[in-house]
Symmetry: C2
Subunit: 237 residues, 2 copies
């Protein structure tokens, strides 16, 4: 499969058309941004790690019955995925308080929830991706009630599978962000990526952060954390 014209360039990925109108090629970059775009940098090797890890996890989820956009890994950084129209909601599932949740509600990082929680942000850079609830997402025609229910069910199932998967690698899945898209046939599938860019991973013994928080918070050893996660997922790189 060959890349035709570039359709889109995002903060961490480029998307190219292919000769098949229902397929696109995603190309992962090493570029990193944080804090609503105010912080910019490069995490060397991130593009390849995120591409390979995300594909691996999407394949695993696919085997568990979760529909995803994944089709075929082309190279270290490039993957064929189904072309979807992204539903403009960022879906955040949390098992443990951290990040914006801790700040917003004054809850110490590391506080576990009795049950996982879910929240939505309206994907709109000019509005800074504001938190939005189901009633308002429907009122703004971002998704239908049925679509939101389907997305919630998928997100909680994905959480259960990922939690179990990572715990065997001595990694606690603290929280993560998902995006969903609609294919040309109207099917809702998991899109975007699952990686240290979009998940909080803590070592289950030491609580060491193995994710993008090391970049966001200038903690150092950013590349090392991404490489460590890669090693745990694939054994050797």
């Amino acid at each position: 499969m060959e890349k035709c014209g570039q359709l889109y360039e995002g903060k961490a990925k480029k998307v190219f058309a292919t000769e098949d109108k229902d397929l696109v090629i995603v190309s992962y970059k090493d570029d990193a941004t944080a804090l609503d775009g105010q912080k910019k940098g490069t995490i060397v090797g991130k593009g390849a790690i995120n591409n390979r890890m995300s594909n691996h996890l999407m394949k695993m989820l696919g085997e568990k019955g979760v529909k995803t956009h994944f089709v075929e890994e082309l190279t270290d950084r490039e993957t064929v995925v189904k072309k979807v129209s992204i539903i403009p909601l960022e879906v955040i599932v949390r098992n443990v308080a951290a990040g914006s949740f801790s700040k917003r509600y004054g809850v110490e990082e590391g506080t576990s929830f009795a049950s996982p929680t879910i929240e939505f942000s309206y994907k709109d850079d000019s509005l800074h991706d504001p938190l939005i609830n189901t009633y308002h997402a429907i009122a703004l025609n971002l998704a239908t009630r049925q679509e939101i229910e389907e997305i919630k069910d998928m997100a909680f199932k994905i959480n259960e599978e990922l939690k179990k998967y990572f715990l065997e690698l001595n990694v606690k899945l603290i929280d993560f962000k998902l995006e969903f898209g609609k294919t040309s046939t109207g099917e809702i599938v998991l899109a975007d990526e699952i990686s240290p860019d979009t998940c909080r991973f803590w070592d289950s013994n030491t609580n060491e952060k193995l994710d993008k928080d090391r970049f966001r918070r200038d903690m150092g050893n950013v590349e090392e954390a991404y490489a460590e996660m890669m090693k745990r997922v694939f054994g050797v790189m």
Copy 2:
């Protein structure tokens, strides 16, 4: 019924104990605050208007089967209500986009929703009353799932009754904020107040604002707007 010691002084009301441990006396002030407390002022006559209007509306809602904290109006500014522990969620029902909703989601003020929406804010001054969803309110033990479902049902019923009531007075109910409390017997009742401080009222012909937005936005004729609402509710003052 006599006031004993003062229990609490809020931005717009004082609360006093009585000889009955299950009853308190609320005393309405003319003080007004807005913009998260940054703007302070006085709206002359507001205390009496809000007290009388809120009591009138709570009585009306009580007749429609809505449980409220209202017991007895003592004077122009003072009312006996059931003592409740306030559930720390501000409940906002919206029929038309305005205020923080319009700003947050980039939607023009005056845009009607196909169905009313509801949202919750976590009542915590130090956190600036952040928006919170059902999952997080439950995770933070602010209320149980059952309590939240009961509050939602009550809030939507109150909206239907108030919308109908105000439309007959040529007033569109744009949105409003409710608070609920739990009595000593565990019953959930509507508490706080229903007034131009807590509702957006627009004249149904001219869209003229007849509420606290005139104070928030320095529009002038603040006292006149409160008096106009009072006149529409009571005929004459």
